[in-house]
Symmetry: C2
Subunit: 338 residues, 2 copies
DNA sequence: CTGAAAGCGCTTACAG
DNA sequence: CTGAAAGCGCTTACAG
């Protein structure tokens, strides 16, 4: 059997409550006693039982991470490992552990979130996506459970949720303007799943920039795909089949851009000579493509880090802390635009 | 306050113990009572408290995932998301949750593992790496705590640990032989960190194949790097500076190969015309390089899935179950060899 | 088939 | 500064 607080108490000749206070490093215990108790803990190899603690405390020092449905698709994309790295770093610093959802469908995930919340399995949750018509967020709001969203709430009053996001609208607008500045007028747009808010924002930015320049928006220049691998490739086929081919492409995400580049190479279309490409994320590997890609660095790590910072402060003092953090983005110019 | 077993008991006019038995679906409770209790649970919106359960049960239905130190480096590589996906799938199927280490250094991680084990935070652990002189594994063995290793134990009796691995030795040997069959004799080897057992195994396979063919091993043809991005690029510089340049390269991992291809392109060395390349892993994105890469598919997802299967069976019945699973590998021929 | 009671290993008012 | 006791929300022998 594991050694408990009682064993330590006996050994140190004090009451269990005293041992508990020593663990919490209460100022009401004399240094002398503390020493003695700590000695006993060492000798016996005492380690606190986490579940007992959580039960008595009603707090777990654990944060839940909720991934979008279908980790299959999600994990294809280095975005997630990188946010998690940011989350992980801050969580470690503050003494929190990490608990991961494993469900694949939306219903499974909602069920898991309910378990986390009702079961007292975590103290707070970071939501790694914002999806149109998502059910997880309304649930969390209704329960008044501490959570932070990476992304932007959609169809929900912004004041009700703490979130960390990029200005994706502006990023897409800037990128479109950048391409126009380079002389492009026929600009294609390869977006992600339209259920995700980020996709919606990208679209709006793209359209706004075009509008401002009085360039008509052509529906055939806009395609959406979820799968990053096949998605990029399929999109290229669609767009390159148009008579009036675009001379520039905005791609939702770097990994998709790999697919785009691959397919373009197969078609013997040269980048950037024949077509320019800008994408989003600046994932580590994006500087290893041929040609290297021009992309918007959205500071993924920071998104995770900041989200965790906000979440923890919300757990500790629910009524203070920022409710909204916008992480700046930056256009990284490399070889794929002309 | 959350609704507890007591509230349900009152509502259903039974004792708390009966409610508990209904939750566990004990066969000793009549269907009629079960119905009544379930009704009450629904009406009150009862959800079991996870920590209380774990405490009474001494089991958590949670699996710990231990990542190699420095998630920074680890998470650059799609290997990890993909194993985790495999783990996640099986864990979900069996009703287990996932808990992640967050530490960066070896000491931090060991400390976290101790907390997991002593604190009763998880029922078992899957170790995502096997490292020479690792301290985590000896600790787990000493504690007789259920764990499974993805990789191969090193300097530890194989009978003492359950592990899931590829035959990395054979894979490297085959790959080397494949290149020799294509006519190559000057074959370079770009390996990962020599602290990892997989690297050691790759090396042995490479050397063995060369030996069998009576081709002398040249130390200058062998380089090691940990960072996948810079690593690949640095390695190329080293190898291409040799007077007697290799005509083929074996690269530890696909992402590294992206760096290698990038650098080779910068140097105007054509793949596969001037130099052939084989690598390992067959990560999703590896079919998107230019040229697409020939690589060994090690079935990463399956490694995670199998490991979790073994772990759970070990938790449930410690004395049965396989102790060793070798996941087959397969050479995927694409465009990078000639 | 069901209940009363003890116990899992902590924490925390309350008392002194 | 320290202790005795109650409580966190479950489970599980034991008894009937």
């Amino acid at each position: 059997m594991a050694v408990t607080i009682k064993d330590v108490a006996k050994r140190a000749n004090v009451a269990p409550s005293t041992v508990s206070r020593v663990i919490a490093n209460s100022s009401r215990i004399s240094e002398k006693t503390k020493e003695r108790v700590r000695e006993a803990m060492k000798e016996l190899g005492y380690h606190p039982n986490f579940n007992a603690r959580s039960l008595a405390n009603k707090s777990t020092s654990t944060l839940g991470i909720v991934m979008p449905n279908s980790a299959k698709i999600a994990f294809q994309n280095p975005f997630f490992p990188e946010v998690i790295r940011g989350i992980s770093t801050k969580a470690y610093q503050e003494g929190y552990g990490l608990y991961l959802t494993t469900g694949q469908t939306e219903e499974e995930i909602l069920e898991e979130v309910k378990q986390m919340v009702y079961g007292g399995r975590v103290d707070g949750i970071v939501l790694l996506y914002s999806r149109v018509n998502d059910k997880v967020m309304p649930f969390l709001i209704e329960q008044e459970f501490p959570f932070v969203l990476i992304g932007r709430p959609y169809n929900i009053d912004e004041d009700q949720v703490t979130f960390v996001n990029n200005d994706n609208y502006k990023a897409a607008k800037t990128v479109t303007e950048y391409l126009m500045l380079l002389g492009h007028e026929r600009i294609g747009f390869i977006g992600g799943n339209l259920d995700y808010v980020v996709t919606v924002d990208h679209m709006r930015g793209y359209e706004q920039a075009l509008n401002n320049a009085h360039i008509p928006i052509r529906q055939e220049y806009v395609v959406h795909h979820e799968e990053v691998k096949e998605g990029g490739q399929d999109a290229v086929i669609e767009l390159m089949s148009i008579e009036d081919r675009p001379t520039a492409l905005i791609v939702a995400d770097d990994i998709m851009t790999f697919g785009v580049l691959r397919m373009l190479a197969d078609m013997n279309v040269k980048v950037p000579q024949d077509i320019s490409i800008v994408s989003f994320n600046n994932v580590m590997i994006s500087e290893l493509s041929s040609p290297t890609m021009t992309t918007v660095d959205i500071h993924i790590y920071e998104l995770g880090f900041e989200a965790t910072r906000c979440l923890i402060s919300k757990i500790i003092e629910p009524d203070f802390g920022e409710r909204k953090v916008i992480v700046p983005h930056r256009l990284i110019k490399r070889e794929s635009c002309k």
